[in-house]
Symmetry: C2
Subunit: 337 residues, 2 copies
DNA sequence: CTTGGCACTCATAGACTGGGAGTGCCAAGC
DNA sequence: GCTTGGCACTCCCAGTCTATGAGTGCCAAG
């Protein structure tokens, strides 16, 4: 359907357009890239590419720019992921190396990714459901209130207030705490609901209401906080690009946790990169943006996702390289801690 | 120096310019506001106001717009803080009412403030130094690593990894935890350094290195994390306003924790509003923005600050009202928990 | 199938224009 | 002496027009 030369021309169009941000014409194309054919030939091919929907022209008598479909073909067939330079690798190591706790890892990662790609970076905290319990803590904070603290094996710490209505003796709190940890230590969060099912029966009758309250908050937390924790950075990079009217929509979308989550998409094989281009993105206001995302995690299992958001006119090979590299590093760091 | 009429004219100019975003001329002014004088008189007064630096014209034969100095006078002498409408008060209550833990209070607050003012809102977490210890937890997380968790009376939870190098027996950890809590429970963080000074002497010799490591991390945390935790929301509102070139700078500034902190300024009397207008702001890239900030806290003592960032052309009375009201509510909520 | 030629399209930039909003100044009036 | 109407002046803005040039589509020849 499309011979090699047409594909080469499409690739050249994408590359030129991405780097110059200007519609690319047949003459410039024939010159800059050693295609060995005349501009007229290029024009003929371009007419075919346009007919098939891979490129389009902003107005008659302008050069061509790739369509979403064109970018898609480029990403799938015409390009290879660009490995990071040695300097970039070093930057990742030094930048992420010094981070100890999870908050720091995540916040450094998101800033790093934004800087590497010169785009908006998005990082999701490790999903609760796919982590396991390292420790549970109960601390009385006020009359009738306990603070429930969850610590996961990924270093994520979640806190929730439990309204117990009644005050619990220090002993009872300690006992409940011990019981919770005995039940749950080392368990994956997926097993938690089952593991705690009979727990209320194992506390003294007078403490039972409190135990039930604590458990219900615990279970709630697993649902509500499972994936919701997401951060982004690099919004300033949006102001560089070709956004003008769309900017507001994009900024708005970025502040919605739910939208961000959808943006990164479903967690899959951490080794696989997901690329969603332009209108492939169903989300409101993000029709002219592309997303490059990957899962990250320990030993081959995806804990959560991270990625980058930018204009469709994006350096896909470079961005994909950066996202993949950062995802791998983060996985290593989490595994090492 | 400036008689009442000139002041009234300045006020009218500020109000009109803020609401229309267009330079205001003498004729429109004389008509819209019942000044009882002719446009010519207004012109004379405007010439004086301009000479004194309160207003300026973008170009000859355009109307006048306020200068920073003009806004300053307006804020200090010509306007009163506008109380919120009943609907707005209700919005605050319902929006902040359902929040339990501190993270939720803060994140809701910042979104609420952004929405109320249609500007960028910034909220600082309660400063550690001005809080006191509610509980300290030590959890072994890996070989040679402890997780130190601080819980403050404001509900703030801080975590840090401690590299202990050696593994500690569960007993020793428990003992150290108990000792820490005995020393520190209820103490203000300002007293912590003194209170723990002799703590290493009170643990068994073999655990002493670990105790020292834990303490040094604890003290470090108090310094490093004291005020650094700051969030913002409503960046999308920037795209509405008259930013065009400056937008990038502002977005960049917002992503720098340090800049955000400086932005909110020194904590003062929580009842006092700080307004910094345009170039009064020394921060890079924020010369044409204004900041309205206030301290918030429990029982009259400021724990931290929150505020709003927007164009100098801002509805100061309304913004000040919203900031003050939100600050008070947040204080109440923190006190009540 | 490729190529050079050629007419055609159309965005862009620059020059020019008229209209209008707004000013500053001045002389007359209260 | 402050206020006011009149008036000339400035200068932005929007519209029109034009020349330019990049780029295209088509065609006929190689």
């Amino acid at each position: 359907m499309l011979d090699d030369r047409k594909l080469a021309i499409l690739r050249a169009i994408v590359e030129d357009y991405v780097s110059t941000n200007e519609p690319v014409g047949s003459k410039a194309l024939a010159e800059r890239h050693a295609l060995g054919v005349s501009p007229a030939t290029v024009r003929n091919d371009m007419a075919v590419l346009e007919e098939q929907g891979y490129i389009t022209q902003p107005h008659t008598s302008a050069g061509r720019i790739p369509t979403d479909k064109g970018y898609r073909l480029f990403v799938d067939k015409l390009s290879t992921i660009k490995p990071l330079s040695a300097a970039e690798r070093r930057a990742i190591e030094t930048f992420l190396g010094g981070a100890y706790d999870l908050d720091e890892v995540v916040s450094r990662t998101v800033r790093l990714l934004a800087q590497l790609t010169r785009q908006v970076a998005v990082v999701q905290y490790p999903s609760l459901i796919r982590s396991s319990v390292r420790h549970i803590e109960l601390v009385p904070v006020a009359a009738g209130r306990l603070l429930l603290i969850l610590i996961t094996d990924t270093g994520r710490v979640e806190q929730r207030v439990v309204e117990t209505l009644v005050d619990l003796a220090e002993d009872s709190v300690a006992q409940l705490r011990a019981l919770l940890n005995a039940c749950l230590d080392g368990r994956s969060f997926g097993e938690v609901p089952l593991a705690v099912a009979d727990l209320p029966d194992r506390v003294p009758a007078e403490d039972r209401p409190v135990a039930v309250a604590v458990l219900s908050v615990l279970l709630e937390t697993l649902v509500e906080r499972n994936e919701e924790k997401i951060v982004f950075a690099g919004a300033a990079n949006l102001a560089l690009g070709d956004f003008s009217k769309g900017l507001r929509d994009v900024l708005e979308a970025l502040e919605e946790q739910v939208v961000l989550m959808r943006l990164l998409g479903e967690a899959g094989d951490p080794a696989t990169l997901t690329v969603r281009i332009g209108a492939e993105n169903q989300l409101q206001g993000l029709h002219s943006t592309s997303v490059v995302a990957a899962g990250y995690g320990m030993d081959g299992q995806a804990l959560a996702r991270l990625g980058v958001l930018g204009p469709t006119r994006m350096d896909y090979p470079g961005t994909m390289g950066a996202v993949r590299a950062v995802a791998r590093y983060v996985g290593q760091i989490l595994a090492g801690s």
